[in-house]
């Protein structure tokens, strides 16, 4: 038995996992080798130290209450489907939208020729009819007049002041009808304008009524979560929720990553992989035109984000809706071709995500 062999058996020897024969052979060597004696002594001490928790700092005293508060702050029920949990998630959703994304909502509404009232019972098949796809983008932009963006930019990012501005508030309550809706030939546009024509006279009231119903659905009793300054009917218009995703994807949370972007975090219930879909409003008119010119006809582009054990790929695409370009970014640890397929198949509907509709 030499020192090298001892080294091979070191941990097994210390953990007393060796046969008596091997053990006595090692003992023999140890008697005459001080280096190996030290190795053994060190390994034994090591095991003790590794088992020792004395160097672990203490958790904050209020750790438990912090956790419990976070759970209250981010209500989501472990059961997932109970009605209380759904309400909580909806109001959470409302908060996210109503918070920092408010400016984007208002801007969008100012650009709108008119509301498209939602179906009263949020019937998903009808919502799917209104899904917005990238293909219809260029025509819509050409036809919809862009309002004075400079005025808006001054107040951009400060939702309260935008709304409280009387002039702007007028625009919100009486949206400008589309300038040339009669001239449209594009099929998509016709559908849009017919809907607008049908509802031109009554859509404001019906939308509001709609939203009354919506709020009784979404907000728990006595809740004061509603941002009073916000025109409530605008919420649905920003909610370009991803739809047409494979059924194994479950919406986990909605985060607004910046003041004009929302990230939908999905988990794959089969393999637990995460999928992030970020919808960002390209709010600047020039950028919008540019990116549309550059992108029209072009499908998606992808790039490689991170290397390592978990490959995170991204696929980008953009859609146009009511004269605005939205950048869509998909991020997931899945092969690029699969992700691209997913990016191409994804549709957006102006509604709450499927998962939030009971």
């Amino acid at each position: 038995m030499n020192c090298q062999q001892i080294d091979e058996y070191l941990f097994a020897y210390c953990d007393e996992k060796l046969s008596p024969e091997l053990r006595s052979l090692i003992d023999e060597h140890l008697d005459s080798c001080e280096t190996c004696q030290n190795m053994v002594r060190m390994a034994k001490m090591e095991s003790q130290i590794l088992a020792d928790t004395t160097d672990i700092p203490l958790l904050s005293e209020d750790f438990t209450s912090q956790v419990m508060h976070s759970i209250f702050d981010q209500p989501s029920t472990p059961a997932g489907a109970s009605s209380a949990g759904l309400l909580a998630r909806l109001s959470q959703y409302r908060l996210y939208i109503g918070g920092t994304a408010a400016a984007a909502v208002i801007l969008l509404v100012l650009y709108l020729p008119g509301f498209i009232p939602l179906n009263t019972n949020l019937d998903s098949s009808k919502l799917a009819d209104r899904s917005i796809t990238g293909e219809s983008a260029p025509e819509q932009v050409a036809d919809i007049p862009l309002p004075d963006v400079k005025t808006l930019e001054t107040d951009y990012g400060n939702s309260a002041s935008v709304v409280q501005d009387d002039c702007l508030a007028d625009k919100i309550s009486t949206p400008t009808p589309p300038a040339s809706s009669a001239d449209n030939t594009a099929e998509e546009k016709q559908k849009l304008s017919s809907e607008i024509d049908n509802s031109k006279d009554s859509h404001t009231t019906s939308a509001v009524k709609q939203n009354d119903q919506y709020y009784t659905l979404t907000l728990p009793e006595g809740s004061e979560l509603i941002d009073q300054d916000l025109n409530e009917s605008e919420l649905d218009l920003l909610s370009l929720s991803p739809s047409n995703l494979p059924t194994e994807y479950r919406l986990e949370k909605i985060i607004n990553t910046s003041y004009n972007a929302i990230t939908y975090v999905y988990s794959n219930t089969v393999n637990n992989d995460a999928l992030e879909i970020t919808v960002a409003l390209a709010y600047n008119a020039d950028i919008t035109q540019q990116s549309l010119a550059g992108r029209s006809g072009e499908g998606t582009d992808q790039k490689y984000v991170r290397s390592g054990d978990a490959l995170l790929n991204t696929a980008n695409t953009s859609i146009s809706y009511q004269g605005h370009s939205f950048e869509i970014n998909l991020k997931a640890a899945m092969p690029l071709d699969k992700l691209q397929e997913l990016a191409n198949s994804i549709k957006f509907q102006e509604a709450l995500p499927d998962e939030l509709i009971d």
């Binding site: 090591e46 928790t53 958790l59 419990m68 759970i71 472990p78 209380a84 390592g308």
Partner: protein
Amino acid sequence: MLNGFGELIVLTSDELLASKSLDGDLAAFEELVNRFKNRVFALVYRIVGQHQEAEDVTQDVFLTVYEKLYQYDNSKKFAPWIFRIATNASISALRRKKKVVILNFDESYPSNYELNNASFLTDPQLMFERKELEKEISAAIMKLPENYRAVITLRYHLDLDNQEIADILDINRENVEVRIHRARKALRKIILQQKEERGMKLELSAN
């Protein structure tokens, strides 16, 4: 009765608390947090290596546990399930940061220190040696690959059996022993390297 982490052991099983939590019983969940926080934190801290970061990750672990409770299989033990979440959360937290975290030993956080081994305190030579080795190990452990850190913590800190460790790390039971052996070897190598480097520095400064 207290377990090794100073946590109270009561008659209600973890599994029962988990299903109560799933039914919306927040007090039951709070109890689970109290029962597991120190063990989860120890595991996370060993992998992540920084106090504040570890505490944040630990908090995320409990939020994840709460959100994913419906996925927990009540017929299995709760502890391996939460340790699995904690291990994965810690490793992905490390990967997010994409940089090696070095333990800061000068941090004077209050610790769990207990006078649990009298011989090290009565024999000054042994105590000194052990203190030195403690420092060596603490420095070396963060240089290990994170899966080695995880397996060492699960075995030596949390005292889990091989089957539980296998479940947590998603490896074969037979491979647990192999991985522990490799982890210990790697740790050893790093400790010796550290000593060598210091020895060379000493020689240099002597010259």
